[in-house]
């Protein structure tokens, strides 16, 4: 058997898709092994009291109500070939996402509707030389709204081996709590610089970062109405960046929905101080962060925020220094390079103070917003 469980910190246990209400938002289980799904899926969870828990090899086991010969996911679009991927994810308190498909190379650009950004996924693949590190998914998804009777029933039907519809993705039916979509995902770990360069810009400028601690993901979500969202993310040790973009059916981007995110993991108090100072210019508030615990930090910027930030950077004296943050973001010509400018080769403390210097030098807070979460207490601080 084989599966991957994603567990939010502080949560205990394997996420159990048979009990969706017990799963924490953000938790998921992804199966990549057909044998597990058809024969040992039930064995992986504490399901002894469920009437449909049974062994494929022993269909007459005690407690069984009828023969579940097909297994949970033996029907539907899942093939018998190796390389099956099935994911069950709790998106939020009331939404379960099921993803079904095969792990395979992205077929061709036709899959992506000719949209320039989306077609870029195929080009990215050409930049990867370490194929072993590459996982690609093309998945059909259904989002089930558990707060509606129809959505909950549809989810139960999908997950329950005895429903007669187990593993069969229901039709798109938003009126009854079922939304259809597809996701193309490309994920790498320990990738080489060629991939990073292709994905978000020139990596060679980040010589202080360790490639072995890096990974990246490109995820493209297609909606039935023809719109697509493209999320590109990369992580370098304790620093992460993400760019989210939305495209209409004709391929035109809705730039107003573009979002840049910087994630800083386990930031010391000094970095938290710099973060608050950058977004508020409030010394007292910033200094108060020195009495808190270490923080996880998420900064988000719209394209309008980035436009203002770039103008702020170009007017800063540090802009003349080509190695400075002011220069790197001030000269970034595309979303990928903007995002990469947030990754600082000198460590996770650097970005908050790079932003704080821009704020102090210009006399105004930097645009955008940040959320800091105290790792000890869970206390959230939102700035500005």
């Amino acid at each position: 058997m084989g599966f991957e469980a994603k567990v939010p910190s502080g949560q205990q246990g394997v996420p159990n898709p048979f009990e969706p209400d017990s799963m924490a938002p953000g938790s998921s289980v992804t199966f990549t092994d057909q044998a597990l799904i058809s024969r040992q899926y039930g064995a992986s969870y504490n399901l002894v009291n469920r009437p449909y828990v049974t062994s494929y090899e022993n269909p007459l086991a005690e407690g069984q109500t009828r023969n579940a010969t097909a297994g949970v996911f033996a029907q539907g679009k899942v093939s018998d070939s190796a390389g099956v991927a099935i994911g069950v994810e709790k998106l939020n308190d009331t939404t379960m996402r099921v993803s079904v498909g095969s792990i395979e190379g992205v077929k061709n650009e036709a899959t992506f509707g000719g949209q320039a950004e989306v077609a870029g996924l195929a080009r990215l693949r050409g930049g990867v030389t370490n194929e072993r590190a590459l996982t690609e998914y093309h998945l059909d998804t259904r989002d089930f709204d558990l707060s509606t009777p129809g959505g909950r029933q549809a989810y139960e039907d999908f997950i329950n081996p005895l429903s007669g519809r187990a593993g069969v993705l229901p039709d798109h039916d938003p009126a009854n709590g079922v939304r259809a979509g597809t996701v193309d995902s490309l994920k790498v770990t320990n990738e080489n610089s060629a991939f990073v360069d292709a994905k978000i810009g020139n990596f060679t400028a980040k010589g202080g970062l360790t490639l072995s601690s890096a990974d990246g993901t490109v995820k493209i979500t297609h909606s039935p109405d023809g719109t697509s969202s493209v999320s590109r993310s990369a992580r370098f040790g304790d620093q992460g960046v993400q760019v989210d973009r939305t495209f209409a059916a004709d391929g035109a981007e809705d730039v107003s929905k573009r979002q840049y995110t910087s994630l800083l993991h386990d930031l010391p108090q000094g970095g938290a101080q710099g973060t608050v100072l950058a977004f508020t210019m409030d010394d007292r508030w910033a200094n108060s962060m020195m009495t808190r615990g270490r923080q996880d930090v998420q900064m988000t910027f719209t394209q309008a925020d980035i436009d203002r930030l770039q103008e702020q950077a170009r007017q800063n004296p540090r802009f003349q220094d080509t190695g400075s943050f002011a220069n790197q973001i001030g000269t970034a010509q595309d979303p990928g390079h903007v995002a990469l400018s947030f990754v600082r080769g000198t460590g996770r403390d650097a970005l908050p103070w790079d932003l704080a210097y821009l704020a102090v030098d210009s006399g105004q807070p930097v645009p955008g917003r940040a959320t800091l979460v105290d790792r000890n207490t869970g206390l959230k601080t939102r700035v500005p």
Binding site: F3, S44, V297
Partner: protein, 77 residues
């Protein structure tokens, strides 16, 4: 039941089976725990850890084990 094996780990370590149950081998395999990472959400940063589980659960056995904050309980009939 008692276990002679253990999946208590620290970040980055890769424990491997078999875990011995009193009645015999129940789970043989490995659980690989990733280092904690962050994901962006509308409510702010959310830390998470992933666990890759590979192995075989024997029939007619029950086994529990933990890897970090992951607990695994398996039973087949």
């Amino acid at each position: 039941m008692s276990l002679s094996g253990s999946y208590e780990t620290k970040d980055g370590q890769t424990p491997s089976g078999p875990v011995q149950a009193t009645a015999g081998r129940a789970f043989e395999g490995s659980i690989k725990e990733s280092t904690e990472r962050l994901e962006a959400t509308p409510d702010g940063p959310r830390p998470y850890t992933t666990y890759q589980v590979q192995g075989t659960v024997s029939q007619y056995q029950k086994v529990t084990g933990t890897a970090g904050n992951l607990s695994l309980e398996a039973q087949t009939r």
